[in-house]
Every structure is written in structure tokens, then in C-alpha cells.
């Protein structure tokens, strides 16, 4: 509880500072002007969504390997937070596209891949909701692994399909005044994401406990109904 809260507070603080610097301290970019400031939330969302999907993949393997339900709790936390960040990523990307390319959507490699990725992992969450309690953990892990393996394949085929893409922007080639807000926001979202992951896992654990333990009140009701 305390770890979670301090992670969340630290993350929030970093985000506030990073956002302030991104909006008001960092200079406008040479070609993209003020629009470039979207990058300070866009790129960290992308990094962290990918990172959390990778966590989810690890949790899925651990879940199948060990059969321990705790891994499944963490899995659902990671996938859910990643899906939220992924959805944000698409909206930010679309606004960015409108400002720079003049269209809300372009079949750009990374934009398209993140849309497919969102659909893949939203599918995992849907399957999870439909599955029965005793199969939920295994099915979620299977679907997560299958979806994760697909991501590089989707990336490469979209890249070949449409070879229009932006040059990868790495922090080394840009002004240090731009690197700092980017890094602050990246770490901020990461800490916040991990805190949410843990909170979501705790909720799942509580639900699981509730489902597992037959409630005394419910048993009594059943017995009286039979009598």
C-alpha cells in the first residue's frame, strides 16, 4: 500500500514537472514549432505501453509456468494499464497527424501497428471477461503470448506494405532542453503505471479470494431454499 502510494506520488510529481518543462521551458522545434510539444506525452506513452505489454508477456509465461494465480493478477494489471496508454497513444498520434500531416489518420507504420496492438490486447481483456473463473488465468496467458508474438510481425508487414514512415527520433539528436521533459514524463508515467498495475492486481486478488471462498451467508440461503 505504502509502496504503491509513494510510487504514484513520485510519478505524479515527475509528470507535473516534466509537463511544465515540456510546455513552457523547452524551446519550440525548428520545423514543427509548438506542435512538437505533443511529443513530451506521446513518446512516453508509447514507451510505457510497449514496456507494460512486455511485462504482461513475462507475467503470462510465469503464470503458465508456475500456475500461481498471483501472476495472473499482475498480468491483468499490466494489460489493462497498457491498453489505456495505448488508446491515449492513438489519440495523441491522431492529433499530431492532423497538425503535421493535415489528416487525422495516416497509415504510418507506428500508428497502424499501435492500432492493431490495441485491438489485440483489448481482445485479451474481452476473452478474460468471457472466460469462466477456473479457465481465466490460463486463457489470458495464452492470448497474451499469442498477441505479443504478433506485434513484431505486424510492425514489419505494415512497414513493407507502406514504406512511408518518420525517422526514428532518438533523444540523442535533439536539444537537451527537450530531452529532460521527455525523460521526466517517461519515468513519471512508468511509476504511475506500475502503481496502477499493483493496484489493479490487488483488486483482482481480492475478487479471486471472494470467488474462491464460498460465503457462509450464501450457503445458508441455498440450504434453506432446498428445505
Amino acid at each position: 500500500m505504502n509502496v504503491r502510494r509513494s510510487l504514484a506520488i513520485a510519478g505524479l510529481l515527475l509528470l507535473v514537472v516534466g509537463t511544465y518543462m515540456g510546455l513552457f521551458v523547452a524551446p519550440p522545434e525548428r520545423h514543427m514549432g509548438e506542435v512538437q510539444r505533443i511529443m513530451y506525452v506521446h513518446v512516453p506513452s508509447a514507451w510505457n505501453a510497449m514496456l507494460l505489454y512486455t511485462f504482461a508477456f513475462g507475467f503470462a509465461i510465469a503464470s503458465l509456468w508456475s500456475g500461481k494465480p498471483e501472476w495472473d493478477d499482475r498480468l491483468v494489471g499490466a494489460v489493462e494499464v497498457a491498453v489505456v496508454l495505448n488508446a491515449l497513444l492513438l489519440v495523441q498520434g491522431s492529433i499530431w497527424g492532423r497538425a503535421t500531416w493535415g489528416v487525422w489518420w495516416d497509415w504510418d507504420v507506428r500508428l497502424t501497428t499501435s492500432l492493431v496492438m490495441l485491438l489485440l490486447f483489448a481482445g485479451v481483456l474481452t476473452l478474460r471477461r468471457m472466460a469462466s473463473a477456473e479457465r481465466r488465468a490460463q486463457w489470458s496467458a495464452v492470448a497474451t503470448i499469442v498477441a505479443f508474438v504478433d506485434v513484431p510481425l505486424v510492425y514489419y508487414c505494415v512497414r513493407w506494405w507502406r514504406s512511408l514512415h518518420q525517422i526514428q527520433s532518438s533523444p540523442e539528436t535533439v536539444d537537451p532542453a527537450m530531452v529532460i521533459p521527455l525523460r521526466l514524463n517517461a519515468i513519471g508515467i512508468l511509476l504511475l503505471g506500475v502503481a496502477w498495475l499493483m493496484a489493479r492486481a490487488a483488486i483482482e486478488k481480492a475478487r479471486r479470494r471472494r470467488d474462491e471462498a464460498p460465503l457462509p451467508s450464501r450457503v445458508i440461503v441455498k440450504e434453506t431454499a432446498h428445505a
Partner: protein, 225 residues
């Protein structure tokens, strides 16, 4: 290996006995192809240009039909549990099922490709036809592996008709793109020698998913502890 063949033989025999069911998948693919033609108007040139896309979409849509059906018999008789009880092993069962599905989908190729040749007045020689069927088979194999895995799960759900497509369609984006592009190059010429890279993409998808799904199938059908 022998187990795979015996389950496969049983599935194919059943498929043969219920020819009407298999035929309905064929019919569905044909109707889909017709509908695409109507939707895109009578301009033959435009239709011809869209042929690869129509073919692959027809394959994709009929695949969900075939896959949803493939676990129906086992589920109705609770035979899946029976098969799993015996020392058959879920892996053998996966490969048998996936092979049966891949075969069934591949068998659609002559009918649907033939129809497309007639409908869109494609001028193709035997090598191009063989190429089209080859791309179709690679695509069918790519759909069959994850499709069989997911169908094993979704066949236990009340919502299986929706569940399978929403899980499978985003997953097979590489199959769709790969086979559409490959068919396009086969049909309309391959000036830049790109066919090989698309075929290898399809092959890579097939190999990866036939392996991964074979390993994971156990967790999809067996009860957790």
C-alpha cells in the same frame, strides 16, 4: 505422429459424412466474393485490381465459419474431454485439428480462385494460377493455427460467434497483408522482385504460430488446477 494422423483421419471422415456443412463453407466463400463484386460496382478494371483483396477477405470470413464448426462435434458429445483423458496428448490433437482446418480452407482455393478468374476476366496462365493457390494455402495455414487455438477456447463460450473474429482478425493482419500482396504480385507482375519477401513473411508467420500454438494448446483445453 500416428496419433495425429488418426485424429486427422477421423475429422476428415466426419467432414465427409457431413458434406452439407463443408459445402456451406464453400458456398459462403462464393457468396462473399459475389458481394464484394456488387459492392464495388460493375467496373471490371477496378474489380480486377481488387481481386487479391477480395480473395483473401473471402478466405478470412469463411475461416471463422469453418473454425467455429471445428469444435462443435467434440463439444456436443463432450468428446474433447474424452480425447484429452486418453494418452493422446493435446499437442497431437492440436496438430490434427489445425491440419484438418488448413486442408479444408485450402480446398476452397480452386473454387473461389476459379470463380474470380471467370468473374473478373483475369488472364492468367497455369503458373500464375498455381501461385495464387500457393498464396491461398500459405494464408490458410496461417489462419488455421491461431484459429484452431482460439476456436478451442471460444467454442466453450455462449458468445463464440463474436468472440472468435474479434480475437482472430487483429492477430492475422500479417497474414492478410502478406497474402494480398503476394497474390497481387503474382497477378500483376513483380517488377521489383518483392514476392519472395512477402512469401517469407507468410512462411515465418506460419512457422511461428504452428509452433507457439502447438505448445499453448494444452493450456487452452485443459482445466487449471
Amino acid at each position: 505422429m500416428r496419433v495425429v494422423w488418426s485424429i486427422l483421419a477421423k475429422d476428415l471422415l466426419l467432414e465427409w459424412r457431413e458434406r452439407a456443412r463443408t459445402l456451406s463453407v464453400v458456398l459462403f466463400a462464393v457468396v462473399t466474393l459475389l458481394l464484394f463484386s456488387f459492392a464495388l460496382g460493375p467496373d471490371v478494371e477496378a474489380l480486377r485490381a481488387g481481386t487479391p483483396g477480395f480473395l483473401v477477405l473471402a478466405l478470412l470470413l469463411s475461416s471463422t465459419l469453418a473454425l467455429n464448426e471445428s469444435f462443435r462435434i467434440e463439444r456436443e458429445d463432450r468428446a474433447l474431454e474424452g480425447l484429452l483423458m486418453r494418452p493422446v496428448g493435446s499437442m497431437a490433437m492440436f496438430y490434427a485439428k489445425a491440419l484438418a482446418n488448413a486442408l479444408l480452407l485450402t480446398l476452397l482455393a480452386p473454387v473461389v480462385v476459379g470463380l474470380a478468374v471467370v468473374l473478373y476476366s483475369l488472364e492468367v496462365g497455369p503458373p500464375a494460377l498455381a501461385g495464387l493457390v500457393g498464396c491461398w494455402a500459405l494464408g490458410a495455414a496461417g489462419l488455421a493455427a491461431p484459429g484452431t487455438l482460439y476456436a478451442a477456447m471460444t467454442s466453450r463460450l455462449k458468445t463464440q460467434d463474436v468472440a472468435l473474429p474479434i480475437l482472430l482478425f487483429p492477430l492475422v493482419v500479417p497474414v492478410l497483408l502478406g497474402s494480398v500482396k503476394a497474390m497481387d504480385l503474382v497477378l500483376f507482375g513483380d517488377a521489383m522482385n518483392q514476392l519472395q519477401s512477402w512469401v517469407s513473411l507468410l512462411l515465418a508467420f506460419d512457422v511461428i504460430y504452428w509452433a507457439v500454438c502447438g505448445v499453448l494448446f494444452r493450456y487452452a483445453v485443459e482445466e487449471g488446477e
